[in-house]
């Protein structure tokens, strides 16, 4: 059978509508019938989910909680120095996790069609928030004007933008399914929207997020089945743009120059190489088995952003090569699960969004770790789920919730995202 992906959502939607009309009455009566009904309802919440659902959920929860522990360990000293409270950053991260995890579970119940329907709303809302960065509400942190602050609460709207843009791209590419071969169709509205989003983030000065966004868009567009030759022009543009953009901020050129030169001079050590060098030293002192949780020496004000961009160095120091590999492994588990979702789905939207989110989370993780390992210059991206930072944690959890929602088996859906193997090949 030759099924086009675009037909699937529509079909599902139709089925859902029909089921809604038919099953509404009987479902509302259900819970009151027996004393065990509540238990049954709870069981039903999870019991029927697929393995991938639990693997992703479990890995995400483990990483988030592990992150919480590492944030406590890596931040306590500097928190105490600043505020005389060891637990400041830890409690904040705990609160974000307490918001993010339920939110992820709630989001995982959202029907797939809802994402498409509200994609534009989400995008507009996130763009609006990103614009707020340039109002007096915006705050510059370490050269990046990527934060908004309301009272004591601050957030990075770019995290929301990543999610919203992914969903929007999924929606728009599904809509343009049949016209993907025509570059004009592809150009509008994809290029303006993505362009604006990138411009907003770049204007704030956040090169790391920009790169992640670029990767995310590229992967999403690729998965949608856009012809490879369409990538040539943007690639050429990027090849020109990135050096220019990089060169505009001296802090960036310095960092990159230092990375290229290998951080050998004392002057470089004192300035641009400080963070990388201390990150490497932290990792080295960990050895195979680590110095033990809480025993990091780099966290004693040596390593800047020890609880954030460089938390992986602290993981490597305290838990050693083993701990670092476990973290790497867990991201691989996440990646493999995402790929499974991607490959098993016959819904183009699901595939595009999953691909985008995967690029975002896994890509960001890899970039972050590469930076810590000195394989990339310092880009300032946090390690998803582990680094301290509320916006990142919450929206990564929500993004995982979105993927979980694709996996969520609803009553009546026998095979929510399951499709025979041969269709995968035919999709492109």
């Amino acid at each position: 059978m030759v099924t086009t992906p675009s037909s699937l959502p529509r079909r599902l939607r139709a089925e859902r509508a029909a089921r809604k009309a038919a099953g509404e009455g009987s479902r509302t009566a259900e819970p009151d019938q027996t004393p065990g009904a509540a238990l049954v309802a709870v069981r039903r919440l999870f019991a029927a989910e697929s393995t991938a659902f639990f693997v992703i959920l479990g890995t995400a929860l483990f990483l988030a909680i592990f992150g919480l522990v590492m944030v406590l360990s890596s931040s306590s000293v500097e928190q105490y120095v600043e505020t005389h409270d060891f637990f400041g950053a830890f409690l904040r991260q705990g609160i974000f996790a307490a918001i993010g995890i339920p939110l992820m579970l709630v989001v995982s119940r959202v029907p797939v069609w809802a994402w498409q329907r509200y994609a534009w709303h989400l995008l507009v809302a996130s763009m609006f928030l990103q614009l707020l960065v340039f109002t007096p509400l915006g705050v510059e942190v370490g050269g990046n004007r990527n934060w908004i602050r309301l009272g004591s609460f601050s957030a990075q709207p770019s995290e929301f933008l990543k999610l919203a843009l992914t969903i929007w791209i999924g929606m728009i590419l599904v809509k343009k399914e049949r016209k993907l071969g025509e570059w004009k169709e592809l150009l509008v509205p994809l290029v303006p929207v993505v362009g604006i989003a990138l411009a907003l983030v770049l204007k704030g000065g956040d090169l790391g997020t920009t790169l992640i966004l670029l990767m995310l868009v590229a992967v999403a567009v690729f998965i949608a089945g856009v012809k490879l030759r369409f990538f040539l022009v943007p690639l050429a543009l990027l090849a020109v743009a990135i050096p220019v953009i990089t060169a505009t901020a001296s802090s960036r050129t310095d960092r990159i120059a230092a990375w290229l030169s290998g951080c050998s001079s004392e002057e470089a050590y004192q300035s641009t190489c400080w963070q990388t060098t201390h990150g490497l030293w932290a990792l080295a002192s960990g050895g195979v088995f680590g110095v033990g949780l809480g025993n990091s020496k780099a966290k004693w004000s040596w390593l800047p952003e020890a609880d954030n961009d460089f938390i992986f160095a602290i993981v490597g120091e305290e838990l050693g090569l083993i701990g670092a590999c476990v973290v790497l492994g867990l991201f691989i588990v996440l990646a493999v699960s995402f790929i499974k979702v991607l490959r098993r789905s016959d819904d183009a939207f699901v595939r595009i969004v999953t691909g985008g989110i995967m690029t975002w989370i896994i890509g960001q993780a890899l970039v972050n770790i590469a930076v810590v390992l000195g394989l990339l210059p310092v880009l300032g991206v946090p390690l998803p789920l582990i680094s301290a930072g509320g916006s990142s944690l919450i929206f990564v959890l929500v993004a995982i919730g979105v993927i979980l929602s694709f996996l969520h088996r609803r009553p009546g859906d026998e095979t929510p995202v399951r499709v025979s193997a041969e269709t995968v090949g035919s999709l492109r």
Partner: protein, 566 residues
């Protein structure tokens, strides 16, 4: 992913030791562990010399020019340079103007010493001020809590270390060894918990335990100073020695140095003359010749001698007794009690030159005592072959040979101890910080004369106070005291010409029937009274104090009182 794992292995395993070395270089901070110099204590553990922690208050003038900021009662206050100087002055007792001068002499300097060697109280006051550009530096200082008491023995420390006395002699025992440790710091210089590694342990110096009794030493020094003044002597020494083990309980030198203020003493008083000065001992040697004669069996206390006032020898030499007298019939006891030069030569001549020399040598003359005090004199005993006929005669009454006061005290200890000479000891041992005791002296005595000979001499010397050269000295009631006086003419060099100045001395033993303590006092060049009797009050005072301090049981037997004449 594989790249990451390879890179992780590269960093965490392959390059780890190199990287760790680099990071440790930045993090580790070496610190000194202080091993302080040990104390010198008296026989009861009372401190004679100790090391105290002091702080040099140093500053960085470059940062000091604007004063400093601090919070007082929650409010931020800024003090000017001169206000700060006032505060430092108030805390340390230094002059504010000096501090200002030190801080403003070179306004770009990074080092200035404001106040030297302040005590811990002042240091804490300074720390409380919280001045960011003040750096107190730990140092140590040596203090001698009793000042000049035993200063002649302890010696003192100079800027280059030990300079004299026990400080110098036992420097190896006393000196501490600084150790070192490293800790790792946070960027804000916080000491990382659990990061301290001791690379070298600090070892505190040992405690030098002396045999000196600080209380007695103080009394003896007082008595000595008083008597030196009373008889117009240029100097004096007093020694109290325990008979049973030859340990020195007090060694006093007049005008001895206060180690806390070395500059306040003349250089001749920086040591202990009791050890370092050699003098012609005079008549105190007669007891030793008598002991040798009895030991050799050529005399007894009752040996009868016909003693004229003077003797002339074939070679033209002549000796005479101190005061004119008609020819007397004296026993050996009488010869000693009256200190007859002629009498002792008549007895002594029964022994060969070599025999007498050997006895004197065995009594400790001609060699340093076991104390080996810094600069100790060996005396001038010479050799039998170097003694000419006159010196051979003179040596029997202590002229023509030289001894240190310690040698005389040791010789009398031998007599008092039944003829067994104990090594002279000033130091009981050095108690190292790990509890081991080193530098313990030998406790092995050597027999010089028979017990009988020694006891006979002590018995004979009991006559000195009631009817001999010390007749007229108020006896120490309750105790039988054996004593011998000495009045030696001072020669330019031993055996040379004599002038009109004397060194007078009294060596005594108490209680005579059960000797426990030896006291020797000497005075150089007394002016008011030039006979040995001038030394009697000091001897009496010191011996009384010794007997009282050590609660010596009064004598229960009457004095022996051997006949002086026949």
């Amino acid at each position: 992913m594989a790249v990451f794992v390879v890179r992780l292995v590269d960093i965490q395993v392959v390059q780890a030791s190199t990287l760790n070395k680099q990071s440790l270089g930045k993090r580790s901070v070496p610190t000194i562990l202080y091993g302080d110099r040990g104390s010198i204590v008296d026989t009861n553990g009372k401190v004679l010399a100790k090391t105290v922690v002091r702080y040099d208050i140093t500053a960085v003038p470059a940062y000091a020019q604007k004063g400093y900021k601090t919070t007082v009662g929650g409010k931020s206050v800024t003090y000017t340079l001169s206000q700060t100087a006032d505060q430092i002055a108030a805390a340390t007792g230094a002059k504010a103007s000096d501090i200002v001068k030190a801080l403003t002499a070179d306004k770009k300097s990074v080092y200035a010493k404001l106040v030297g060697s302040v005590d811990v109280d002042a240091y804490e006051k300074i720390q409380k001020l919280g001045i960011s550009w003040i750096y107190p530096k730990r140092t140590t200082a040596r203090t001698y809590p009793n000042g000049a008491v035993a200063g002649n023995l302890t010696g003192f420390m100079g800027t280059d270390g030990a300079q004299a006395g026990l400080e110098l002699e036992y420097n190896k025992c006393l000196a501490g060894t600084n150790g070192s440790e490293t800790y790792e710091r946070g960027l804000d210089n916080v000491k990382l918990p659990g990061s301290t590694v001791t690379t070298k342990k600090a070892v505190d110096g040992g405690v030098l335990e002396t045999t000196i009794d600080e209380y007695l030493q103080y009394q003896v020094q007082q008595d000595l100073a008083e008597q030196v003044k009373a008889i117009g002597a240029t100097s004096g020494t007093a020694i109290v020695m325990k008979v049973s083990d030859g340990s020195l309980l007090a060694v006093a030198d007049s005008d001895s140095v206060d180690p806390n203020n070395v500059d306040g003493s003349s250089t001749s008083n920086l040591g202990s003359k009791a050890f370092t000065d050699s003098y012609e001992p005079g008549s105190t040697v007669k007891s030793l010749i008598a002991a040798a004669a009895i030991d050799q069996g050529v005399a007894t206390p009752a040996t009868q001698e016909t003693v004229p006032y003077s003797r002339t020898f074939p070679w033209g030499g002549r000796i005479a007794d101190a005061e004119f007298h008609d020819t007397e019939q004296l026993t050996l006891a009488g010869i000693l009690a009256n200190s007859s030069n002629v009498g002792i030569t008549q007895v002594g001549e029964r022994l060969s030159k070599q025999t007498r020399y050997d006895y004197l040598k065995k009594f400790g003359f001609g060699s340093k005592s076991e104390v080996k005090f810094n600069g100790e004199s060996v005396g001038q005993l010479g050799t039998p072959s170097s003694w000419d006929s006159q010196t051979n005669i003179n040596s029997m009454f202590g002229q023509g040979i030289g001894t240190s006061a310690i040698q005389i005290a040791s010789a009398y200890q031998t007599l008092a101890n039944g003829g067994v000479r104990m090594p002279v000891t000033l130091v009981k041992g050095c108690k190292q910080s790990d509890g081991t005791v080193t530098d313990t002296p030998s406790a092995k005595g050597t027999r010089v004369v028979s017990e009988k000979a020694a006891n006979d001499v002590v018995d004979m010397l009991e006559n000195t106070i009631p009817e001999g050269t010390l007749a007229g000295m108020t006896p120490i009631s309750g105790y039988n005291v054996a004593a011998k006086t000495g009045t030696a003419q001072i020669a330019d060099a031993p055996g040379g010409g004599y002038g009109s100045d004397y060194i007078i001395s009294v060596a005594g033993i108490a209680p005579a029937e059960n000797p426990q303590y030896v006291v020797l006092v000497t005075f150089t060049k007394p002016t008011t009274l030039k006979t040995s009797f001038a030394a009697a009050p000091a001897f009496r005072e010191i011996m009384s104090q010794v007997l009282e301090n050590y609660r010596v049981k009064p004598s229960t037997t009457p004095a022996t009182n051997l006949p002086d004449t026949w």
